[in-house]
């Protein structure tokens, strides 16, 4: 062929018959290659895919294998164990799971940070801790009615609240309030177990010495590793060996090394308080990380000064149609759960986008701090129902929910 091509002009009549035949015979060449192969079943088992499925199961069937009462803290730790005793999905310390339970005729989900070491997944276990939450429908159920042996559906590990050495400093100052200690307890275990490698200083805000969650656990970890340090900050009492008052910029400076990332997890009030503290510390955005799941107080308060209205909610889910009502004071996700509609839900704070749905008609109010929608979705009436409050009758198309029998 080479001789001919070297003379290439725009038009060249001089060509090699063999090369043209080769082109004509491309189908023949392909047929031959196919015919030469074995007639055996097509393989569809790929290690990469089964690994991915082990790391990110869509649902894990678990049972409440033990309940540990947290006396004085109005909280319970649930030890969840895989029903079939297989390993639970590995996770990065700080991640959460979305737990689905059937309460009455409704399926409800709640996100909880995992508080145990990733190591325990090997024998199928993860720990979550649930604190009393006045008026909280699910917290009430878990604290009063859930029993050992009950079944729950647990999502794969979710969220991005974990230490990443390419992003975060080697030194982490963690500010925790109340049950916001859970992801940091997991990180502390992971450091102790050699799974994570960073220095963790936890500034842990509790009301009183008696109400400190996981005090024994934290004490034993700090005895076992120098990389974890815990400073208890009591707001409602003064006691020797404890810091007192709020977690201030000065307090952080007192315990922080020169270079650090600030991780924050706690109740609504803590985040509001920390906004000013972060400003005062002058930290760039990349050094401050917040766990947003389960922070709903402010979201609800953003619709609190309007009178309650009730609207018609029509839901289209695949081939199904549902008619129900929705209050202006609750999210569309809650309205759907109340009506027994199995809607997708994970973070319940707008962030993960798992519940992304399409408004076919109607309007909603979305608190700006919870609006994590994609740019285009904002322009095309796509919403995250977990943070959307109706302001009119709504027709909503939602994806299929994760079913208990999946």
């Amino acid at each position: 062929m080479s001789g001919k091509l070297a003379k290439l002009k725009v038009k060249i009549r001089n060509f090699s018959l063999k090369d043209m035949l080769d082109f004509k015979n491309l189908p023949l060449r392909r047929d031959k290659a196919i015919a030469a192969a074995e007639d055996k079943d097509i393989n569809t088992s790929f290690p990469i895919n089964s690994n991915a499925a082990r790391l990110h199961p869509s649902v894990q069937k678990m049972v409440v294998s033990r309940i540990i009462e947290r006396d004085g803290c109005s909280a319970r730790t649930l030890v969840l164990k895989k029903e079939d005793n297989s390993p639970a999905a590995w996770f990065r310390a700080g991640q959460y799971v979305s737990v689905k339970m059937k309460i009455g005729s409704s399926y409800v989900t709640r996100p909880y940070s995992i508080s145990s070491s990733p190591k325990l997944t090997k024998d199928g276990r993860i720990f979550i801790t649930v604190k009393e939450n006045p008026g909280g429908f699910v917290a009430d159920f878990i604290l009063t009615e859930l029993k050992e042996g009950d079944s729950v559906l647990v999502s794969g590990p979710e969220g991005n609240f974990y230490h990443d050495r390419l992003r975060d400093s080697r030194n982490v100052v963690a500010v925790a309030g109340g049950s916001g200690i859970t992801p940091f307890l997991s990180m502390a275990y992971a450091i102790r177990d050699g799974i994570e490698d960073f220095n963790l200083t936890i500034l842990f805000g509790s009301r009183t010495e008696k109400s400190i969650l996981f005090r024994n656990e934290l004490d034993s970890i700090t005895e076992e590793t120098d990389k974890v340090r815990v400073v208890h900050v009591l707001s409602d009492e003064e006691a020797p060996l404890f810091e007192h008052g709020f977690i201030t910029a000065d307090l952080i400076r007192k315990y922080a090394p020169s270079d650090y990332s600030l991780f924050i997890c706690g109740p609504e009030g803590l985040y509001r308080h920390m906004e000013d503290v972060v400003k005062e510390l002058g930290l760039p955005k990349r050094l401050v990380r917040r766990e947003i799941i389960g922070v709903s107080g402010r979201m609800v308060s953003s619709v609190s000064d309007t009178p309650e209205e009730s609207y018609r909610l029509s839901v289209i889910q695949g081939p199904y149609r549902y008619e129900t009502t929705a209050s202006s004071k609750e999210t569309l996700l809650v309205a759907m759960e109340r009506a027994g509609i199995l809607a997708p839900a994970k973070c319940r704070s707008g962030e993960c986008g798992w519940c992304r749905s399409k408004i076919l008609s109607g309007t909603v109010c979305i608190p700006p701090q919870n609006d994590f929608r994609r740019n285009m979705d904002k322009q095309t009436e796509h919403i995250h129902p977990c943070v959307s409050f109706p302001t009119s009758d709504i027709v909503l198309e939602v994806p299929r929910g994760d079913t208990p029998d999946a």
Partner: protein
Amino acid sequence: MDLVLPEFDVVVVGAGNAGLMAAIKLLQAGKKVLVVEQHNLPGGCASSYIRGRFEIDPSLHELASVGSTAKPGSIRRMFDELGLDINWVPVKDCFRAVGKYSDGSPMDITIPSGKEELIEVMEKEVPGTRKKMEKLFRLFDEVNAGLAYFSDGTNYNIRYAIKHYSNMLIVGSHSCKIVFKALRLPQKCIDIMSTYWSYLGVDMGRMSFLHYAMMVSSYMTEGAYIPAFTSHELSVALEDKLRSLGGQIWFNCKAMSFLFDNARLSGVRTVYGDIKCKYALANVNEDIVYGRMVPKEIVTPRLRRLSNARKQKYGARMFTVHLALDVSREALGINDYSIFMLGTADSETEYRNIMKGFDSNNFSILVCYNVANPSASPEGTCICSITTFGSPVDWDNLKPEDYAAFKTKCAQKLMTRLKEQTGIDLFGHVEEIAIATPWTFARYLGTPEGCVYGHETADWDDIISRNLQLGKDYPVKGLKPIGAGGPRGDGYSSAYQCGELMAQMVIRELEEMDGTSSEARS
């Protein structure tokens, strides 16, 4: 809840680029169409995700065949004709390539888009190549004209082809490597032109020259574009178009298998139940379709042999570090949209090294979206990705508990190499990081080994040969797999074109079926 599920003319399984486009074309032809998608979003690879104050594109490098408003390419026309107003943003140059030439001398060259511009740059870098490059471009033109002649759907006259497209016929069965040599391009010039191998993930020794010519001349004449609001902009536009045409799209709705009646497709089994339809398009990898979703007795020996002949050589398994940085790209010294960092200028060696695993892989591509699209992220920030290919060697036997540490180690190596080769130092500016591995793509796409390109378009299975065997490759009545693994090859533009092509084939078949059945009635 017992419910009789509605019936459809066509069910499209998978709302990837090809699936969405096919569904729309079918709806426009008056068909009743349902799309079922296993994920909660449209687009497959063409999507986006939110991290903090950033929206990040998980896969797009750039689209071919868009073209300017003045000279629109086929993809721009496709979206224009649907009345979809996409915010297309041009990518100025093709890429900058940094590394070493085959002779060991340093390479640092920026490939402009535009034929004249490239010839100029090449002449400067490798003096004396002007005539040869002009010849190469004339050959591109002839190849494109010839391919258009052969693929316009009408019968072709071989004498006419010999008269007008003889050079296309001559090079038509050969690889890039052979044609480059035949054209006596200097080695340095071959080194530079070989950089395009990674666009298709197939080295120059196995890549069809015709495929290469189509791709490179498209980038040269039409430039490259990205949508301003990430790939999700394209997918959500198609999602909404589909709805406005009366189509349905069910998310989180996995299809398990295809149902047959008398060896003809009769429906699709989904998590909602069995859905009756006359035809199904599967925007799903062929091996999954024929290996898992179609009953054994329906799969022909040729389909099994085809799969086994392909030996599970899937194209491009990506490893990408997505970085949202808290400084502007100017402050980081990033001036190029894409920088290709070569381990070696020889694509065959590069490919072999990549397949050996991460330790011997020295190839990567930096993309900074803000260079083309300043509003890709908030003021004073930028979004970059560093991509290389993953090899099953690394990802097959990794334990879940070692996964995070391994992918972080790989990401660190890519960031370190970027710093060493270009001086661009991203360390200390990372506000958000997400590392996508073949596991990630396997999780979200369900493709074999997390591949994004289907089977490699190489050797006997290049897209030219696939197109010449369109009639043979789809023997199952009422079912066609579509997508990146199909006859148009991989990439967004190819997938949209594939969706359109296959929809047209289905429309014709359905009309024939209806014709036959009405005759039978009368």
